[in-house]
């Protein structure tokens, strides 16, 4: 900066700290554009716009209803996955937790149990799976990848045992209630979407404003430091996997109602979409970074892209290629950014 420039800037700034403060708190726009979430959101909006113009099927009420519901299922679990990833772990068992949770509610209710027993039982089973994951990871010190990979297989197998691998589509006396919960809508919005919005709000609040959230991000950033400052990292880890499993359990219950029946291939491969949503939404697989809003936006982008492939008449065989590439691209994006920051 020239001498003149310096002199000109002096009268407006009162102290060095204020100048620094001003430069730190840049305009809203420049802060927004530095966020990965912002660009992902823009991409999703752009895709929506393009699809509305290119096809007459996208912007129909029916299609939007479907998209928003599908997206809600992925987004709900992506909230739990973001917590796990931000804490420095990974949970591969969410897809299987979905099927075991929905199978639990389906089996109990088809046996004549009421709604209010079936759903808590399903959520309880999900919490139990999460607790087993968490305890093996935190107390036995096993790698999250291995533990949750094992659980992926175990939980789906249990769902098969439980149902004898049959489809269940009769849910006893509260049949209609269960279907209305996951398949119905309130004030024009699909119920899963409402649940997702509420959960996203709560999760975002917890991440930012509670000690649990703060400790979770601290643990993901530097687990050793978290331990040394007296944070109970083991209990914290268990709670994180329980949270993730609970989001999968909620999704399981809602999906039964939407589909109107459960088979044991429900939620197969879902972990991939969920991890993709979290990572695209800015969660860092190395731990310590992630937001609830990002998880939702990531899920939105994936679902819109998936829907667009169908509407544009591209074979569904391509879906995996797209979702997979998106994970890699999101991680690459993050790599480039951190390299640029260092260099």
């Amino acid at each position: 900066m020239s001498d003149q420039g310096k002199r000109n800037s002096v009268p407006t700034a009162h102290s060095l700290a204020e100048v620094i403060d001003q430069s730190e708190h840049r305009g809203l726009l420049s802060r927004l554009t530095s966020q990965q979430t912002f660009w992902v959101f823009m991409a999703a909006m752009l895709a929506c716009l393009a699809l509305s113009l290119l096809t007459d099927t996208f912007a129909t009420e029916r299609n939007l209803f479907n998209v928003s519901r599908n997206f809600a299922f992925v987004a709900i679990i992506a909230l739990g996955m973001t917590a796990v990833i931000a804490s420095g772990g990974i949970d591969l068992s969410v897809g299987s937790t979905v099927v075991l949770s929905s199978m639990t509610v389906a089996v109990l209710m088809s046996a004549g149990m009421p709604f209010w027993i079936g759903i808590p039982a399903a959520l309880g089973v999900a919490i139990l799976l999460g607790a087993v994951n968490g305890i093996l990871i935190a107390y036995a010190g096993m790698p999250p990848f291995v533990v949750t990979l094992g659980m992926l297989s175990v939980a789906r197998s249990l769902a098969m045992v439980l149902s004898n691998n049959k489809m269940i589509y009769q849910f006893g006396p509260d049949h209609d209630l269960l279907l209305a919960l996951g398949g119905g809508s309130t004030m024009g919005l699909p119920n899963p979407l409402i649940v997702m919005a509420l959960l996203a709000g709560v999760t975002g609040f917890i991440f930012k404003w509670t000690r649990w959230g703060q400790h979770l991000f601290a643990m993901g950033g530097n687990e050793n430091a978290a331990k040394l400052t007296g944070i109970p990292v083991r209990q914290l880890k268990v709670s994180v996997y329980v949270f993730s499993a609970l989001t999968a359990g909620i999704t399981g219950v809602l999906e039964v109602g939407w589909l109107g029946g459960v088979t044991t291939n429900l939620g197969q491969g879902m972990e991939l979409s969920v991890i993709a949503a979290a990572v695209i939404g800015g969660a860092n697989l190395a731990g310590g970074v992630g937001t609830a809003f990002g998880a939702v936006v990531g899920a939105l982008l994936i679902e819109v892209i998936r829907n667009s492939l169908i509407l544009l008449g591209i074979s569904t065989f391509w879906q995996g290629a797209f979702v997979g590439s998106f994970i890699v691209i999101a991680v690459a994006f993050d790599r480039f950014r951190s390299i640029r920051q260092q260099g």
Binding site: Q214, F217, G221, L228
Partner: protein, 246 residues
């Protein structure tokens, strides 16, 4: 009154005598440079004082009261803070969040406790100002210099009103200018009546700030004398064993 007194502290790991009969006393505000070769028992001694290891024999007194630590938290409650070599800092959090890590300030809104960011920022800002550090509470630690990170770690010790600060190789991996910053921070602690145990390999740093030098060799305390009465040559001799005892 001594801030910290060790009497006949030993630590055995099976047949290995990591520490044998170490007796040492540190006054409030005193800076003691703890030196010794690799494996001489420095880290073990620090870990015994910090509550990571229970001593096999011997007693520890803080302000002339006998204490027993079963876990690091016990030592922390008794007024001992450790600034670890890797600083035990979370890069992804702000300076203020790091200072308050594990003891966040909260306020109540109805039935829920939420983090009181405003109060934590103000308190952290006051601590950094006291340390004459240009660290800003809102900044992410990731973007800070080595000296600023040290200030964060030391602010944490100040926050808890520590009586004794243990520093494990604080100047090992930072630039010359930052070393000066860290040595200033140590002097600040000492000026405020906080005893500092400085574990270091770097002779010049130790002689710049330490009031007293303690040398460990193969688990035994072979010297504990005023820095002014010693010299780097003597200390080198004590560390290597060329000088038996001083």
């Amino acid at each position: 009154m001594s801030a910290l007194r060790l009497e006949g502290v030993s630590k055995h790991f099976g047949a290995i005598h990591a520490l044998s009969d170490v007796s040492l006393s540190i006054e409030p505000g005193e800076v003691i440079g703890l030196m010794g070769d690799n494996g001489a028992g420095k880290s073990t001694l620090v870990k015994v004082i910090a509550g990571n290891f229970a001593p096999s024999a011997g007693e520890i007194f803080i302000s002339d009261t006998r204490v027993e630590f079963h876990k690091p938290l016990d030592a922390q409650r008794a007024g001992i803070e450790v600034v670890y070599q890797d600083l035990a800092i979370c890069d992804n959090l702000s300076a203020a969040a790091n200072v308050f890590l594990g003891r966040e300030l909260t306020r109540r809104i109805g039935p829920i406790q939420i983090l009181d960011y405003a109060r934590m920022r103000i308190r952290a800002g006051e601590l950094f100002a006291r340390l004459k550090s240009e660290t800003r509470p809102r900044d992410l630690v990731k973007r800070m210099s080595g000296g600023q990170r040290q200030a964060v770690a030391i602010a944490r010790a100040l926050l808890s009103d520590a009586k004794i600060v243990l520093m494990d190789e604080p100047t090992a991996a930072i630039s010359v200018r930052q070393v000066a910053e860290v040595l200033n921070l140590i002097r600040y602690l000492s000026d405020h009546g906080i005893a500092v145990v400085l574990v270091s390999h770097r002779m010049p740093d130790v002689f710049q700030v330490a009031d007293r030098i303690a040398v460990l060799r193969r688990g035994r305390l072979v010297a504990s004398k005023r820095a002014a009465d010693s010299s780097p040559e003597e200390v080198t001799g004590l560390i290597t064993g060329a000088i038996e005892f001083a």
